[in-house]
Symmetry: C2
Subunit: 730 residues, 2 copies
């Protein structure tokens, strides 16, 4: 591809971006789209403000960009929680490091590459892309020191920025812990692997174990029941609902205690106005179910420190029994996985890992096909009937420069749901953990299938053979990278820019909203529209672009400006989306950062290894040797960060929790707190709630329900009031 | 090498073994050697029983073998502690699995190998060794199923035996914990990374931290002082001693409290009978030193559970500060490493790892040289002047069959001390941990330098190139192993059998004892003769023989009977040595077993991978494919064992400790126990003690000292009395 091709591709993408963002600025002004573009506000106030019909509603504007730019970190934290801020930190980190990289590489490396060989340069428009890559530098050139210097500057800037980010995110995580006052998850542990006893039920075992070994701090526990028990309940409730629907009924919230946990149960007492057709009540459903316990329970403690001790200490001499961990937050609990026997979990983990690996290999075939499309002669041999069409310059440019990326992107859309399913199968007990696991899987998949497979190209067998000769891998990469630089530049343009535009426009929600309102003519407001931020797709994408940026920085610096624009747009678009669209139901409080950090270190080390190989291939052994200490330093830096920060992301520090407990004691804990604690983890409450949402169960109850939802978004609010409020509403 | 060569080699070794063990049975009867062969008893009763001079003292006998055979596991546990029993379990496990392997392979695999090819067999004596290896089986032979079957039998027997061993050793470890009543290490944690504060000393910081966060259970703490402080003390004490020596002095044990810790300090008050030449007292040395604290301390708690909580919970939000772990037992503390700042430890770990790796590579050169010696033509080209000598059949057999092993063994003797030094450099805080770390290093070294380097032979560069093409490694191993079988068989004979004989005879101690008694004519009994069991040399040796056994079982089953004899002899010899020679001053309570388990799994998987390659090379793809599930099963089995057992080797289970605490409370804890606890970890006490031993400091104190030493061997004794006694004597 020449520069003209690149300009064509950039042109297409810029137009798409401009059109879509103008469209967005118009669409968001339409009141009927409030549920799509202002989901957060819409959920709290579903009443539509009727905007007077006027011309201004159809004029594109850029005000949203300004508002996204002006939002403070506090607003983001309030709107999206720690995880959203962590995501924005990735973008900010990438922006900063690639500003440095762009300045260094465009000013220093690009001229060296361009004038690296004695040749007559053609007109800029038809200059092939290769001229701007390291491939154009002569062997044994002294100018390779420029690349080595750029490598050092980029690496050390990355170290400094990474360190600062890790430090600030660690602080943010601690602030999240200390800020979330009376968070039920701080007082609760999840115990799995309760041993089976012939004489006692699981519940009795749990009670006797914890009242024996934690007599001073154990408060109560809440068993987990088999999903089937609740499915039965749900089915019965649905049946009842269907029986009742035609009649005018009134649901009165019944705050009598739940049969299973003693907490408030959110059951709805049904008062029939017209007839007494059905006498079935949820009350009648419970007695036979109560036996169906799982060997897992939530155990509540008097204070946070007691809970953290019970969670971190090895309980039994058999590590497969009485396995404890701090409980996830109530909204974060993934109930259907709690019933999985703990003994199965390790097998499930291995199985899901193998499945993910299998998927990676299966995917090599379509990716290899896509790679074929980028090469004109391969394409002609595959589709001889289109040979003439391909001779048209524009078609050729679109097909070789743009189509492959589009196909790759479409293919990639199928991966996150599969990885999410695998992570569910793994037996994760919280939604955030499941998402994190899916994120790691998607990330590995992306790095392998987008970066390595495309760079190494060739057939699957050829790719595999490269990996079996590991010492040749850097040389292979070094040889092939300049050739693939053009492909990855268009990939940044298509996958990056266009994906941001489609993120903005929310095509799927928009279409569904349109279909619902104008085809189905539904007048009801939807209740289950709240989307969680898709960390498991967006973080891998960001990190992939980071990897591309690092690895191509000195090889083909022409990619950097496009990347920089991408990150700048991402900064605005994602801030806008976090503020207006996504609803944070649960979060991991920054657990994504260690993944980001490790991946960035991996990218840096890979870049450095490739640089060593490139310098060796270019017959600059001193520059090559000079880069090796950088690799060692990167690994040492990573090890230091691991020692210094990563523990805080795995375990809660005792010091912090004890101080929170003391503050509580001084202020005096609210009465009835422990009862609220028990009801916070009531399985039935969650199942009935799911039912309410998914079945459009109660019109009367909707407002109340929405308030519940809103209150759960407020969980980062550090005022003690809101925390209690939150628990009361459970 | 032919069978004749093997017989020569076996003959030499059998004669050496018989001669040395007869010599041993005579030497051990000489009262003057009691300090060499009955060290354990000698330390407790150093008075020599004068045995009447008679002929029976010079007649070899086998009584010791019987006594070693008849000793029970309880006796071993009492004599050598859990670690000694764990070592014997390795021998027993190896014996059991190789009895099974020998039966299967000699009855089934050996005939298949021998008659694997249509050929005329020569006389047995000149039959080359190769005829008995898998190399003799024809390609595509159906008889390879015998090898596959043998592989399955060996693997599954190993799984069952490994599982049972792991289970029983876990139980033994728990019994050790529950049995050692009032063990000071259960009540103590070691805290490192105490933060520096301008206002307070480290001691004040520790006190305020633990009295703030553990107000109910914190008892006291004991700072660690800079080694220089104590070296100064030691030097002063030595100076004083030298000044006092010519005069007749009397040392009276002075039980007043230690200045640093408040505990009993083992200082000796010097009472001058003749003159008052020196008025220097240890008392005068302390005031200036007390400032020189390290940022590390032992912290004592009221009960075991409190200590285990403080040890297992993450204390601070900065994981490099307030790093806690359960304290090693007082005798196990490696004082000079306690002063190392915690922030350095990770760098030291990496540095020592790199040094160990470098050693492995440096050692490749002498090993390659040794390999050259086994090949007659290489030898002749290296030493043309000895060409004629090498044509002598006996010389040839000795040089090619025996000498290489001897050189290898001698070279290998230099490795453990180096690895021990590296492990010391690493910053391990306990002697047992240092030994375990050295054991792992020696093990990796041995497996690489004895097994891989010898099998792959060739030059260093050739070996490295094999590793860079990882998928070819199994095939390379599979091809080369039959050729190297003869070498390894003689290695078992020479390194194995002869090392057992030399272990028995304790050549170094014996010579030193002889030199001391008959050349120096010293009448004093030595006090520092107690040897610890050298786990870091013996465990790697056992595991190497295990690896050889597994990998050669189906390739060259002729090695198995020799191995079996080796393990049977080892069983008797090591039992004898544990009962009579080695003194257990400290122990890791079974921490060696996970290392053994992992290495055995590694050996099994390596065997299976090689088998897959062998079957593939022999054109038996179905047998090859049939072996792959075995690899998967081995890895799953290992993962299961890791989940099921390994945690207990890392952390103490709360349940067990709480129950011990309750039992204590019921029985009422002895008064003054906490004071004893403090003095148990008094640095000065240990330094003065070292002084006493190393300088032959006090003749008067010797008996007392010996009793101390003995009391520390009794720490496995489960009677509550002895534990307290032990502490009191500190």
């Amino acid at each position: 591809m020449d520069i003209g091709g690149l300009v064509t591709s950039a042109g297409i993408n810029i137009s798409i971006c401009v059109v879509l963002s103008s469209l967005y600025s118009v669409l968001r002004k339409q009141p009927s789209n409030a549920s799509v573009y202002f989901t957060r506000r819409f959920i709290s106030e579903p009443i539509q403000h009727d905007d007077p019909f006027g011309l201004h509603r159809f004029v594109p504007s850029a005000g949203w960009l300004m508002r996204a730019w002006q939002a403070t970190d506090e607003e983001l934290l309030e709107a999206g929680g720690v995880d959203a801020v962590v995501f924005m930190r990735i973008v900010v980190f990438s922006l900063r490091i690639f500003i440095i990289a762009t300045v260094v590489c465009i000013c220093l490396v690009l001229p060296v590459n361009y004038y690296g060989r004695d040749m007559e340069h053609k007109s800029f428009r038809v200059e092939p892309y290769d001229v701007f890559t390291i491939g154009n530098v002569e062997e044994g050139s002294k100018m390779l020191w420029a690349h080595c210097f750029a490598m050092y500057v980029i690496s050390f800037s990355a170290f400094v920025l990474l360190y600062l980010e890790y430090k600030s995110i660690t602080k943010m995580r601690l602030a999240h812990i200390t800020g979330s006052h009376l968070n039920p998850s701080h007082f609760t542990i999840l115990v799995r692997g309760v041993p089976w006893s012939q004489d006692d039920s699981y519940s009795k075992s749990v009670e006797s174990f914890f009242s024996t070994y934690y007599p001073d701090t154990y408060v109560a526990h809440q068993m987990v029941y088999r999903p089937s028990t609740f499915h039965k309940l749900k089915k019965d409730a649905k049946k009842m609902y269907l029986m009742l629907r035609p009649t005018e009924t009134e649901y009165v919230r019944d705050d009598k205690p739940c049969y299973l946990c003693g907490g408030s149960a959110h059951t709805f007492k049904v008062i029939h106005k017209d007839n007494n057709r059905s006498q079935t009540r949820i009350d009648d459903l419970h007695p036979t179910q109560i036996e169906k316990e799982c060997p897992a329970a939530f155990v509540f403690f008097k204070n946070r420190y007691a809970a953290v001790i019970a969670a971190q200490v090895l309980q039994s001499w058999n590590p497969m029994l009485w396995v404890t961990q701090l409980a996830p937050e109530p909204h974060d609990v993934y109930w259907s996985n709690l019933g999985i026997p703990y003994k199965q979990v390790w097998v499930r983990k291995i199985a899901s890992l193998l499945c993910a690996l299998a998927l990676v290999f299966v995917f090599c075939f379509p990716v290899a096909f896509v790679q074929g499309l980028t090469q004109e002669d391969v394409l002609k041999s595959w589709f001889p009937q289109f040979r003439r069409l391909l001779e048209n310059e524009f078609v050729n440019r679109v097909v070789t420069g743009y189509l492959p990326s589009v196909i790759l992107i479409v293919l990639m859309y199928t991966v996150p749901p599969i990885m999410m399913m695998l992570s569910k199968m793994e037996g994760n007990v919280s939604r955030s953990e499941r998402k994190r696991s899916a994120c790691i899987k998607v990330l590995n998949f992306t790095i392998w299938n987008v970066f390595f497979v495309n760079v190494l190209s060739g057939s699957f067998i050829q790719q595999m053979s490269v990996f079996s000769k590991l010492q040749e891998l850097p040389f292979q990469l070094a040889k092939q990278m300049p050739d693939q630089a053009a492909f990855f530049t268009t990939y940044v343009l298509s996958s990056g820019w266009a994906s941001l535009a489609s993120e903005l426009i929310q095509l799927f929600s928009l279409t569904w909203n349109f279909f619902r309102k104008f085809i189905l003519r539904s007048k009801e407001e939807p209740t289950n529209i709240a989307l969680n931020f898709p960390h498991h797709t967006e973080i891998p994408r960001m990190l992939l672009f980071g990897l591309l940026g690092f690895t191509f920085a000195i090889h083909a610096p022409l990619i950097l400006p496009f990347l920089l624009i991408y990150f700048a747009l991402a900064f605005l678009v994602y801030r806008n989306q976090i503020l207006h669209v996504y609803v944070t139901k649960y979060e991991s409080a920054g657990l994504f950062w260690p993944v980001v950090h490790n991946t960035t270190i991996f990218s840096l080390v890979l870049t450095q290894v490739i640089a060593v190989a490139v310098f060796a291939l270019k017959e600059a052994p001193i520059a090559s040797g000079f880069t090796i200490p950088l690799i060692v330093f990167s690994l040492l830096f990573n090890e230091y960060c691991r020692k210094r920060f990563s523990q805080v992301f795995k375990r809660s520090p005792a010091q912090v929790l004890i101080e929170m407990d003391r503050r509580d004691e001084q202020m005096g804990r609210e009465e009835g707190f422990y009862n609220q604690l028990r009801s916070a983890y009531c399985q039935l409450a969650y199942i009935t709630k799911d039912l309410t949402i998914s079945e459009d169960f109660s019109r009367v109850g909707t407002n109340r329900q929405r308030k519940d939802d809103e209150s759960c978004q407020d969980k980062d609010d550090s005022s003690p009031k809101s925390g209690i409020h939150h628990i009361e509403l459970q």
